[in-house]
């Protein structure tokens, strides 16, 4: 689904990613491990071009996202992202946070379809809806998702009143509202109080069970061992080792990985 070829990312003279190759297949849960400053977050952020790659290619469904001519917004709609600091919209209620992007995209598609219809070109008939229909559909979906993470009663409050764990759960279902093909998690539990980590990991686990494709940067080794289908160890901008959780945790080969695991386990 996502294929990264020889990805290079440099901030000025500082080379953060140095020729990374990675292939994330449909339904895989790839956990990216590495010491701080190893480039794991940058790698994840390159996958949806939040950081523009300095070199190499990122193929998403066969389209090269590193190409500046590609309409990145279109592809980002299918790549969900969950941040360390949640990044919920502070000026919107939880419900509005969730429906904002779906409504925006649906309205845009509707406008496009109307224009195509007007000029007699072929168009997708389902795209043409009234504004009310679009809103109701988005709301219905958001309500269902909120119910799934047990936050239905928080639909009309502002994010500032939620706890960290609640914010992150909202952030996860917010990305689900767009029906993404893959979700990127950038240290989703690092900014949380220890007792709230569990509730967020539970949501992620249930997503994994449903077969969602995920790429996760995390320090939660328990989660990596239990849920991941593949673990990737990265240091100094290079992938040093990659394999199943048992290969990585029980039988590490690279000395740097052994050293890393010794320190944290």
């Amino acid at each position: 689904m996502i294929r990264v070829c020889n990805l290079v990312k440099a901030f000025g003279d500082n080379v953060v990613l140095d020729g990374v190759d990675l292939h994330i297949k449909q339904g895989e849960i790839v956990v990216i491990l590495g010491p701080s400053g190893s480039g794991k977050s940058t790698l994840l952020r390159c996958l949806n071009c939040m950081e523009d790659p300095s070199g190499g290619n990122i193929f998403f469904h066969g389209v090269d996202l590193a190409d500046m001519k590609v309409d990145i917004n279109l592809h980002r709609q299918k790549i969900g992202m969950v941040f360390q600091h949640f990044n919920l919209f502070n000026n919107k209620t939880v419900m509005d946070n969730m429906t904002l992007a779906p409504v925006y995209v649906a309205k845009k598609n509707c406008r496009k379809a109307r224009v195509r219809k007007f000029f007699g070109k072929d168009y997708v008939a389902e795209d043409i809806k009234t504004a009310k229909q679009i809103k109701e559909e988005a709301k219905e979906k958001a309500t269902e998702l909120l119910g799934r993470v047990g936050l239905l009663e928080k639909a009309d409050v502002y994010p500032s009143t939620l706890s960290g764990g609640q914010k992150q759960r909202v952030a996860i279902v917010r990305s689900l509202c767009m029906n993404p093909d893959v979700i990127l998690f950038d240290e989703p539990t690092s900014a949380l109080d220890p007792e709230m980590v569990g509730e967020v990991l539970d949501v992620m686990k249930s997503l994994a069970l449903e077969g969602m494709t995920m790429a996760v940067v995390t320090h939660e080794m328990g989660f990596a061992r239990e849920v991941a289908t593949r673990v990737v160890f990265i240091d100094e901008g290079k992938i040093l080792e990659s394999g199943t959780p048992s290969e990585i945790f029980d039988n590490p080969k690279h000395p740097r990985l052994k050293q890393f695991l010794d320190k944290i386990l």
Partner: protein
């Protein structure tokens, strides 16, 4: 001070019996219109310029827009507003062959001028919003413009309300120069009152009081708006 009583009498005579209040009302109306509409135009222009200035600049179009905006800002901040009024009224519009009233020119110039100042205020406001808000929007597939309009600018405006109020007060007071192009504003009305009776003391005193009152009313409004916005921040 017996003299002063007489001066007040002369002033009241002119104002009430000679219907001088009509001109004061007209002047007041023009002053308020120029300042209010000018502020609205300024906010619009300022927001657009500020958004252009914080755009990521690795493509050509934002860079071109950015240089246009900096020329605009340096012109309107670099020349006195009186000069801008005169340039627009006596040079630009005659050259274009457009017939336009002096009040409309004043509205336009004050809008363009405050746009330059508000753009910098707004840019500060936008930069004060956590960059994660922009990232959150972009990661969902919203465009830069859509994220700006729906997420960042509403939060930025909340942060800059006090400064924006300051700008409005400055604008109200600066309108006293529009008589340079012949528009009737508050200053012009009281100046006429003085010229008619050769007594300037009371008219100018009254003018000062009216300006102070206007500014006090505005600052009250700003306080109310600010308090309301803060409330929605906390109690929810």
């Amino acid at each position: 001070m017996g003299n002063f009583d007489r001066k007040i009498e002369v002033f009241l005579d002119y104002m009430i019996d000679a219907e001088g209040y009509n001109m004061v009302l007209l002047g007041l109306k023009n002053t308020v219109i120029i300042a209010c509409v000018g502020l609205l135009i300024g906010i619009l222009i300022g927001t657009v310029i500020a958004a252009v200035r914080v755009m990521p600049k690795y493509k050509l179009l934002p860079r071109v827009l950015n240089s246009i905006c900096s020329v605009y800002v340096s012109f309107f901040r670099g020349t006195p507003i009186v000069v801008q009024l005169l340039l627009f009224y006596y040079v630009l519009f005659p050259l274009l062959g457009v017939n336009i009233t002096s009040v409309n020119v004043s509205i336009l110039v004050f809008g363009l001028n405050s746009g330059a100042y508000i753009s910098e205020i707004m840019r500060g406001g936008i930069l004060s919003v956590d960059s994660g808000q922009m990232e959150g929007g972009r990661a969902m597939g919203l465009s830069f413009t859509a994220t700006m309009m729906k997420i960042v600018i509403p939060q930025a405006i909340k942060n800059i309300i006090p400064t924006l109020g300051n700008e409005f007060i400055a604008l109200i007071k600066e309108t006293s120069v529009v008589s340079f192009v012949g528009a009737t504003d508050l200053y012009k009305a009281f100046n006429t009152a003085g010229t008619n009776s050769y007594e300037f003391m009371v008219p100018y005193l009254a003018m000062a009081i009216i300006y102070i009152l206007m500014v006090m009313i505005i600052s009250l409004f700003i306080k109310i708006i600010e308090r309301r916005l803060r409330k929605s921040d906390k109690s929810m």
